[in-house]
Symmetry: C2
Subunit: 309 residues, 2 copies
Amino acid sequence: MINVLFAARPERWNTYETPLRDALSAPGIDAHLSQEIAPDQVDYIVYAPNSDVQDFAPFTRAKAVLNLWAGVERITGNETLKIPLARMVDPGLTKGMVEWVTGHVLRYHLGMDRHIVNPGHEWAVHTAPLAQERDVVILGLGALGTACAEVLVALGFRVTGWSRSAKDVAGVSCLHGDAGLAEALARAEIAVTLLPDTPATTNLINAHTLAQMPRGAFLINPGRGPLIDDDALISALDAGQIAHATLDVFRTEPLPQAHPFWAHPQVTVTPHIAAETRASTASQSIVENIRRGEAGEPWLNLVDRDLGY
Amino acid sequence: MINVLFAARPERWNTYETPLRDALSAPGIDAHLSQEIAPDQVDYIVYAPNSDVQDFAPFTRAKAVLNLWAGVERITGNETLKIPLARMVDPGLTKGMVEWVTGHVLRYHLGMDRHIVNPGHEWAVHTAPLAQERDVVILGLGALGTACAEVLVALGFRVTGWSRSAKDVAGVSCLHGDAGLAEALARAEIAVTLLPDTPATTNLINAHTLAQMPRGAFLINPGRGPLIDDDALISALDAGQIAHATLDVFRTEPLPQAHPFWAHPQVTVTPHIAAETRASTASQSIVENIRRGEAGEPWLNLVDRDLGY
């Protein structure tokens, strides 16, 4: 019998209890799943960073913290956490992200907005180039960025990917490091930011990097709010350097009503919906790591605490 | 030496002269291309249905009419046309159509419009289902419908295709005939009409068929204007039976300012941009048929005058 603590806001329990029990029953793990287990009896912690559990010291026999969220920036700095931490890599979340990114890339590519909002009833033909004539740049080639890049390649776009260290993705022009960033930005007719939130990526999209993009570029941020220097983006939009931005994540969420993004005519705000964890597929991912822990197999999606993701 | 007449509006000549000459030079055809050739000296007619040429009787030695447009409904009834007629199947046009259809399907799937137009600055989370939980129905499985269906399948959508006669497309649930139509419509959370304009398809989308769709369905028409009974669609939108429609083609184009589609809050009008013939790829398609004609090989994309497409 292993004890699995569910440490997240109570409303999450309603969503996850049944899918987690279903997933735990599949591989024949003899598990006790509960929101209340004495800390020194807990074997695994299914965890949301906004839960009441912030001190991991009392969990003396716990083998791993299995995060319910893809983002781990609110836990990697926790000094009391000494055991392995796994990010959520939910196949449903990845699919949702790919659909959201593909949809908004096509929206900009096709110039949809001028028809969706057309109060003058103008029959104005603007021929979009074909995807094969359009450069899309994905900043960040992790699980999500790579999945998006692959689908955009399949749709015919010319896709460039940029990452901290060298990567190789079929059909994608892969650049990396500081030197590669300028080259990637220079191609970014449409840029998608899918980097983790780390000290190295904070304000990566700033006055300097925005100026390196082609004039009239489009920016799509489904990654993390702090990737963007908000004031610099507003200035670039006002100057026409960036034509339009669609932002799904923000430093403060919900985005405060006073924030200039809300009223800016060149900004679309979406309410952190690009990638939502889906309880059924996420539960399967969590239980797979429990199965691996019990079998002594390597963890999936382990966080490197030094890198921060 | 063969004589190729270019019979289209003069502005088309500016677009097509260079790409057609380039394409004609490739297979080593010894051709004279001009807008003015004595009718009894013409071997091939590159043709737009709105050209001045409406009487084909004087073209006594012409071997084929090679249409610049995908649509042939303005020529199939021409009694003076006795020689083979080929539709335009332009790979560039097909790609553009796939991109437009995929973009608007994803727009409806993701519920983009509520964020693009959000004057109340509402942070309202509506979780879209995954594509694998969404039914998209393509009415018409010709070259364009099939290409769209294949890409939507690759994106994970549950795709149903409907056609007059039985078809088989990998990954697509294919239905056909009158019996299949009701079944297809019943699944159509998002419907895409890509049928030719024939007597059998006129007003196919009418009060009866709209009522067979799921309540709150989305309609996308990049096919032909007469496929839709406009008044019936307006009624279905007003009643909420159809949530929203994106229409690219109309009985009269440009869509007259007085038409109720323009001002309807549940209609997006796009100005016949879903599929545009691209001069370079279209010229290659035309020249391939000339090459086949000279080599005695079967024509590509021959129109069946009885079926009307």
